[in-house]
Symmetry: C2
Subunit: 709 residues, 2 copies
């Protein structure tokens, strides 16, 4: 029996996250955590019984304490455990005996503290698995179920965010307070926040799974230090996309990966933070880069859902704001198209004579005189057939207005106008300040919509929302089946196959490879050259030889038999003097000229598995690291989009007078390389084709290396 029943256990965390009765085990007046948890439960809406358990004190927090879980004598749905570390297992044993299935373990001193702690955690985990318990933690503060008003949570919640559509899962306890405060400050509605702790049993993916099924949750926001279960993560991300619930994630540790990679020298791509980008892209997870972006992007998506497009109509009372918005739109890849002629004509009637009618629209400071101006302009812009989304710049008052009735009427009418439009309307303030009590009350009283941040964060969130909306069809496409295992006898673990063996493997699996003749003496070499046609290339070939050029084992541009003979002698000598005398073959190949050289590599990322990199070869990849990554398996379209991301992409279009590359032909070969890598499965460590030569529709691997796991 396992604690976490993977597929289909959609409601199995119901008891954990929606208990009807809670016991605080280890409750004590001496602990701030205990007091906070108790006060949170009492102060934020929990209506069921809260039992305090302490074997040594008859009274805790001014109320009777029970000696043990057993002594409660009533059913308990959830035990919140904050006893000393050595006592945790005993509490769970007693609870399991009583039929209590759900636990939050606040107690620390487990896996996070070293060898002895790890041993304790393993022992606890074994018990939890055996009994099929749901355990959040240990070393976690619990959760805040704002939708249901259930808050078994160990830190004071001084300003609870409103109940609402955003579910938050955090792999950091200390940042939870900051997130709760920020959601309150920006009036972003919370369904549930979970502080994961050590993820001994329940992990981030289990909670995401729960939130996908949770009717109160429309968007899921993650703070991730690490993705522990990448396959599970992929599964729940797909479920979220299918449910139309965006996942937004702040995934940190780029600098840590960078330093680890720098130390480990295991290849520039392994552990590259860009693999995380590639994985999230594949899974439709929006990656953000600050806590503010995390919450504001989630808040915006909760308001809009998927957006129909990226053509934004902008309505503001400020020219300066218009220019900031235009600059930011460009950075976010959003379009601010000219208005349709009809829209322009109607706007000209609506705005003052001295206003310039254009998108973005500045209706001018005349809004202070004509209080319906902005709303009327918004209505007109929303009716423009060339506009997908309207962005309106409105600041809520921060202090009680002189005439509260007038303010209510103004914002009420504005809210009504927004409700009436059939386009998504995003409202942004100018700068990122709190929504104050005054603003909050106005929003409640008038239904004035969510304010997506200051201009900077609102544009960021809008850009992210459009990207997510556009990516949905691709994320939801049918999953590619993994290729069948190839019928290949792999090399020894850690062995590298140089060109002469790697090329054969490629050719056998449908990847076009430059013709190559393995020769053992000058006569064979010249005969091969005559057959292939001059000019030819000679290359050293020997098992274990990876970097032919470094030993002088490559000779280019050989135009006749004399050149071939002389080059053969040189290459052979280079092999012998470098210790490859045992198997000193020389490859003869026709020299390919013109066209463009690509690099196509597949490496194994420790978290995400086989990852494809495409780049422009030679100087581009060596000096610029100009490459694009995709998780395997890849489609033709994946490869096309990856090629399009390259800084030097224009080179493939013939920017330098070379023959334009047939990108479909390239993509076909790259897909085949990806399939071969996939079919080699766990046996493969890395596979690199460098260069993959392209000229028009001709695509050939000119060299390759395969390393076995």
């Amino acid at each position: 029996m396992t604690a976490v029943v993977r597929p289909g256990r959609a409601t199995s965390l119901q008891g954990l996250f929606a208990p009807r009765s809670i016991a605080l085990v280890g409750a004590t007046d001496k602990s701030g955590w205990s007091l906070s948890t108790y006060q949170n439960l009492l102060g934020h809406g929990f209506t069921g019984p809260v039992h305090l358990v302490n074997p040594r004190t008859p009274e805790v927090h001014g109320r009777k304490a029970h000696k043990s879980l057993t002594a409660i004598g009533e059913p308990v749905d959830l035990a919140y455990v904050m006893v000393p570390t050595p006592a945790v297992l005993d509490v769970l044993s007693e609870g399991a005996e009583l039929g209590i299935r759900n636990y939050v373990v606040l107690t620390a001193g487990f896996g996070e503290t070293g060898t002895e702690g790890r041993r304790r955690e393993e022992e606890l985990h074994a018990f939890v698995r055996e009994k099929g318990l749901n355990v959040l933690g240990p070393n976690g503060n619990g959760y805040v179920n704002a939708a249901a008003g259930i808050t078994p949570y160990g830190l004071a919640i001084t300003q609870p965010p409103p109940a609402g559509p955003v579910g938050v899962v955090l792999q950091s306890g200390a940042l939870a307070s900051a997130v709760l405060n920020f959601m309150h400050a920006r009036n972003v509605g919370l369904s549930m926040l979970t502080s994961m702790g050590n993820e001994m049993s329940l992990s981030v993916t289990d909670v995401i799974d729960h939130l996908v099924d949770d009717p109160a949750t429309e968007v899921i926001a993650l703070f991730l230090e690490t993705v522990r279960h990448p396959e599970e993560f992929a599964r729940v991300a797909r479920r979220a996309a299918e449910a139309g619930k965006p996942i937004v994630a702040l995934k940190i540790g780029a600098s840590r990966l960078a330093s680890r990679t720098a130390q480990a020298h295991t290849g520039a791509l392994v552990g590259d933070d860009r693999v995380v980008d590639a994985a999230f892209r594949r899974l439709g997870v929006l990656r953000v880069h600050s806590l503010e972006e995390l919450i504001l992007t989630a808040g915006l998506l909760a308001r809009t859902g998927p957006l129909p497009g990226g053509r934004i109509g902008v309505v503001t009372p400020s020219g300066g704001a218009c220019e900031i918005i235009a600059d930011r739109a460009e950075q976010e890849g959003l379009e601010i198209p000219p208005f349709a002629p009809g829209t322009t004509a109607r706007l000209k009637e609506a705005v003052p004579d001295f206003a310039t009618v254009q998108n973005p629209l500045d209706v001018t400071g005349y809004v202070l005189v004509d209080r319906t101006l902005l709303a009327r302009a918004l209505e007109t812009v929303a009716a423009d057939p060339g506009i997908d989304v309207v962005l309106a710049l409105v600041d809520l008052p921060r202090v009680p207005p002189a005439d509260p009735e007038a303010a209510r009427a103004y914002f009420g009418a504005f809210a009504e106008c927004i409700r009436k439009t059939d386009k998504p309307v995003v409202v942004s303030g100018n700068v990122l300040t709190d929504i104050t009590e005054t603003g909050r009350r106005l929003q409640e009283e008038t239904g004035f919509p969510y304010i997506a941040g200051g201009i900077d964060h609102a544009m960021n969130a809008l850009g992210a929302a459009v990207r997510w909306s556009r990516s949905l069809p691709d994320v939801l496409r049918e999953e590619l089946s993994a290729p069948a295992p190839a019928d290949v006898t792999p090399g020894r673990p850690g062995e590298t196959w140089a060109e002469h063996r790697a090329a054969r493997l490629l050719a056998e699996h449908g990847v076009p490879v430059v013709p190559s003749v393995r020769t053992a003496d000058e006569h064979e070499a010249v005969a091969a050259a005559e057959r292939l046609g001059y000019p030819v290339v000679l290359k050293a070939a020997a098992d274990g030889l990876q970097h032919k050029s470094d030993i002088g084992g490559v000779r280019l541009g050989l135009a006749g038999p004399d050149a071939v003979r002389s080059a053969f002698r040189d290459v052979r000598a280079a092999l012998q003097s470098s210790g490859y005398g045992a198997d000193p073959a020389v490859l003869v190949q026709p020299q390919r000229t013109g066209g463009t050289e690509l690099l196509v590599g597949v490496v194994r990322d420790p978290t995400w598995g086989l990852t494809l990199a495409v780049g422009l070869g030679g100087v581009w990849v060596e000096v610029l690291a100009d490459s694009a990554l995709r998780l395997l398996p890849v489609t033709h379209a994946d490869v096309r989009s990856a090629l399009g991301e390259l800084r030097g992409a224009r080179l493939l279009d013939g920017a330098r007078g070379t023959e334009p590359a047939d990108l479909d032909a390239v993509a076909e070969v790259v897909v085949r390389i990806g399939e071969l890598a996939g079919s080699l499965g766990p046996r493969l460590e890395s596979l690199e084709v460098n260069p993959l030569w392209v000229r028009g529709a001709r695509v050939e691997a000119l060299d390759a290396l395969v390393t076995w796991a």
Copy 2:
């Protein structure tokens, strides 16, 4: 006599910005602007007399109104003018007659509204110049002198920021309220905010000049739509740097420039937003990209002043925060070095056993138990000799704490500990929320320092502050004198000099140029080739011919006399068939091989003048637009730093096996090209050396074009 006496009129705006008496001309109960201005003056500390002037109403805002400025019968230092547009000139005439020198003109309907408005503004400006008046506006809301409590400002100030060190100048009226609100929300101290309006007479640079001399102002924050007087701007920026007052600027319009450039096709660099970057870099102006960054960067610099370096010691109670900080530090170019062994040893004694002692430091959630932990850790880190700046993560309480006395003691002790350190300490919160009344009061009562934002903005501001500090010596270096005008007869306006004339100009001014022989027939060409040595290059030369390659006018790699003869015939034929038969010369040059090719261009930016671009030639500049810009004149060090910015910089270090370029030799030639361009002065439109060939210490212009203005 001019209204704005340029150099040395340091205190001439004293009467405008620190008047002892103010008249509101055109005051009326019917205008919200009038009421706001009046209430602002009364409510925010102005102690002098405020006279209301309205010719048609005996009473305004519940007080006696005067019929005219004359009727006041008392001295007036500043007239705030909000009469109808046609009456503005009359008011200024009357005021000038009375000896009133200072005006804020709120009234709109001038240059911003079209031809008639522009005429009115010119008429007004002529009068203002004639009488030597200081006029802010028209079409501007005035200013908020928070330091002196003088607020002749036309919009309601509902939450005034505290008086403090940041001076703000805005080329946008509507954004001023957002800036004031944000400064209040983040508790950033304001010296003076000025809303510029149309800048008819007084411009942004005049106000900056004033703020440089203003003892209340330590940092200057700008919102710029356009730089009207670039030379003035350069002068005041230099004065600010000399006074140790950083200028931070949000300069918008990148998207506008981009679209204008796209339409105008006047060259990829003219009007490029990157020229603004180059100019600001030269002037030591920190460019930011959002209103939040503007104020938070200014706020941080006001607290720290110039920083001694970029080695940051980080102290937090949160592992998650540590990783966000590490990621952001990397992006900002900040270093988080390991602690010195002594620091590590002392920290190990201070923090709980289960904490990991490293930089960034997570002292753990144990801060909730041991309330001195964070401050003690900070003290230890500040004493580390390898640390320049300490960053501490602290959130102020947002609601009144349960035990206010304990909170005061805690923050007081922490503030004292920070005061005692001799290193700069920057305090950051987790997320960007308002400093609430509770936090504000704690700061006031305990002297707890300025909080630089949430992590994201604090890291951004810290990175900017370190960059500014590092740039100071360079900004303050002796100004390069403009080169003496060259003794050159320029071409006709718009004329382009192709290689054969441009190269001569370069050579005459000390720029090394590849040897070149102008030949008129095959025999001359072969003779030249023999003299220069094979292989040679043949190039078409004719006045007006700019793109030789396009007509087939370039032949490379000619290895002997036959090849030269045949190439000569081809090039000559190409000239003739392209309509250049009148002057059909052919240049013979030795072919340069190996090494690297650069592009060095000088173009005239409409605002900032001659701008130097360096880039790697060929594909790099064509496909990647890989170039770095500097305003002329440039030093050797400027060119070295520009070369270092190129994405392909490693190519110059011999990354591809080519001979490393002698960067000093390259810089010397580029400086000389810059000097030549400078000495051609306003006659020059553009000058381009492409390629500039570099191999080791050999540097030669292989081709060039000069276009005259």
